[in-house]
Amino acid sequence: MMKSSNSKDMVSRAAKAVAVPLMVWAIMQVIDMVFAGMGVINNSADIKTLFRNLISSLAFALAIGANLNCGRMDLSLGAQMYAGVIFGGNLALMLNAGGIGVLILSMAVGALCGLATGFIFINLRILPMVLGLGMTLVFECICFAINNQQGVILYGKPGVEILSNITFIVIVTAAIVLFAYYFFQLSGYGFKYRAIQGSQKLASDAGINIYSNCVICYVIAGTLAACAGVFITIYQGNLTPVLGMSSNGRVFSNMFPMVLGTWIGGLCHNREGGILMGAVTVNIIILGLTKLGLSNSVQNVIIYALFLTFVVYNTNRSKIDYYKARRARVAQAQKLMAQREAAH
């Protein structure tokens, strides 16, 4: 009996998680069929594009969420991504380590960048968003100064083609989600992380080392950002360093999958799975808009308008629920009164 209720619960949660991207796909499919005469996903190239974009936005969204769920907005993640991929990628190319080497070394350098940011944060204790701005300036400067301002070029390099392989992308996507789920939900670290998420003061009083937990969180975020960066680079062919805080754009563009994913995660009681579904949803919208032949700027306007609408809804959800419940109560009362009057 118990087992059956558990499995029913799991199926219900999975259905809720999958429902959002499915609904969005159905809507985009109709729009694309009406206006462009073709579906959202028509051929293998579309599937490849979807998976390539999915892995980078998923990894980045998880990286943003790692700190944001504890009230820390790390704006330097974009710069950490650049630093990780430019340093790690060039090092791997020098060592002829191939695609997997590029991925591992980039993630290692990303982890180091996260470690540096986390270490500075726990020592200076200035607001995370402000620290992020300062660290962005520093990381961008370092990225620009190395390798003669060339960044990293993966196009045409031997051994890196594995990074474009769909099977490899699917394996890495699954590994990222499983790792994040285990790390934040099942491990001892995750238990403490969630305690800190609830109340930092209470967690600290209970003996949890909030400082080491925070540094580890920054390290994980840096690693995931660099992982996202590798797949962005292989898709573009190269990654050119930027200045003037332009790297922040990477953080902003991945906020939608993160926020939407956190909401879906709330529905299915699995934040990491929710973020995966959030990333799938946003990438389906992007793919659908691309099929309509819209320019990148128009796509951005539409995506951010949707994001804004969602954020406004999400913030005021409780009020909407309250008004719905009140209207239902009034309707019930009116119905009851009408019944009584009819009885008299």
């Binding site: 504890c70 607001l127 968003m129 620290l131 370092i142 930092q200 805080m245 700027s297 128009v298 999400n314």
Partner: protein, 336 residues
């Protein structure tokens, strides 16, 4: 009092450590005003010495003034927003979109007066939109800033396209004279008066210090925050006008990255971007001049522009650290 009792009192009184003394200096009410000015003077003297007096040339000083003008206006404007604890770094993109709207109005009518009015109105309306999202829709300011800056920059690209929109060069240069200085002085004076001489400024600082307490004392937080965004909007619009007349054209990338420059200037000017009682509206202007002096001075002594960004980052972090109180636990803030 005899010598022995004085000695006894002295023995009983607690000994102040160096950290205590530093805290005493930092908590002095005049510290946020004196420290940025002292730093500005120090940087000025440093670069005068390092450049052998070249730094004090009229052309250099005029260049510094012109460069810090737009950021200074914007930083003065956002002081109204920052005072209430709202961090809005989308002001650069709001200014950019206001410029684009103004330039399009010029293209349609051929009138510079219309361009100025539309840019001003654009700045005000965009900031009011941000305010509505923050105050009425209760979306966290950081989230509003992220979404707003992305939407505004995308709209700029859609409206402008690849080629910049040009405005009349001669009139632009003419406006750079009396109009620019006059309007800035008028705006800055009005901000100073409102912020430091009226109840509006006090209410803004009170809300930034403790919003709940401010509401319980009868302050209408919603109305006050709308007023703060209104004044910020006027400043953003004015900065947009200065930007347009400075270059006599508007590109799709106008205003990009300026939001963070404004934040940097505010912090360097000695004001917390999270508001409160120690806020002031002239910090941004001092900060903008400091940033420009730092950039120009480093360039003149041969530091590359890439390195300048790194140095700015380190200086920024150091100043924020010196200006903020060290918390016992880690700082955090619910973002959405």
């Amino acid at each position: 009092m005899s010598n022995s009792s004085a000695a006894a009192v002295s023995e009983r009184s607690p000994k102040l450590t160096l950290a205590d003394r530093v805290d005493m200096i930092k908590n002095n009410r005049y510290f946020p005003i004196v420290f940025p000015l002292a730093m500005l003077a120090f940087l000025l003297l440093l670069f005068v010495a390092l450049t052998g007096g070249e730094f004090m040339k009229r052309s250099v000083i005029l260049g510094i003034f012109n460069q810090s003008f737009i950021t200074g206006t914007m930083a003065t404007a956002v002081a109204f927003i920052y005072s209430t604890g709202n961090v809005d770094f989308s002001v650069g993109n709001a200014m950019g979109l206001a410029c684009v709207l103004g330039a399009l109005a010029y293209q349609a009518t051929g009138s510079m007066a219309v361009m100025v009015l539309v840019t001003l109105a654009g700045g005000v309306l965009l900031m009011m939109f941000n305010c509505t999202l923050c105050v009425t829709c209760h979306v966290k300011p950081a989230m509003v800033a992220i979404v707003a800056m992305s939407i505004y920059s995308a709209i700029c690209v859609v409206l402008v396209g690849a080629a910049p929109i040009g405005v009349e060069y001669e009139t632009s240069k003419a406006l750079e004279g009396v109009f620019r200085y006059g309007s800035f002085l008028l705006y800055f004076g009005m901000c100073l008066l409102l912020y430091h001489g009226t109840a509006i400024g006090r209410k803004l600082r009170f809300i930034g210090g403790n919003e709940r307490c401010a509401i319980q004392t009868g302050i209408n937080a919603v109305k006050t925050q709308y007023i703060s965004f209104l004044f910020a909007g006027v400043g953003v619009g004015l900065a947009g006008v200065y930007q347009t007349i400075r270059t006599a054209n508007v590109a799709s990338t106008v205003g990009t990255g300026m939001g963070t420059d404004v934040m940097l200037a505010t912090v360097l000017g000695g004001m917390s971007i999270f508001g409160g009682t120690k806020s002031n509206c002239f910090a941004g202007l001092i900060g903008a001049i400091t940033v420009t002096i730092l950039n120009k001075g480093l360039l003149m002594i041969g530091v590359s522009s890439t390195m300048i960004q790194g140095i700015r980052g380190v200086v920024f972090l150091l100043l924020v650290y010196l200006n903020s109180e060290r918390q016992k636990t880690l700082p955090s803030r619910q973002q959405f």
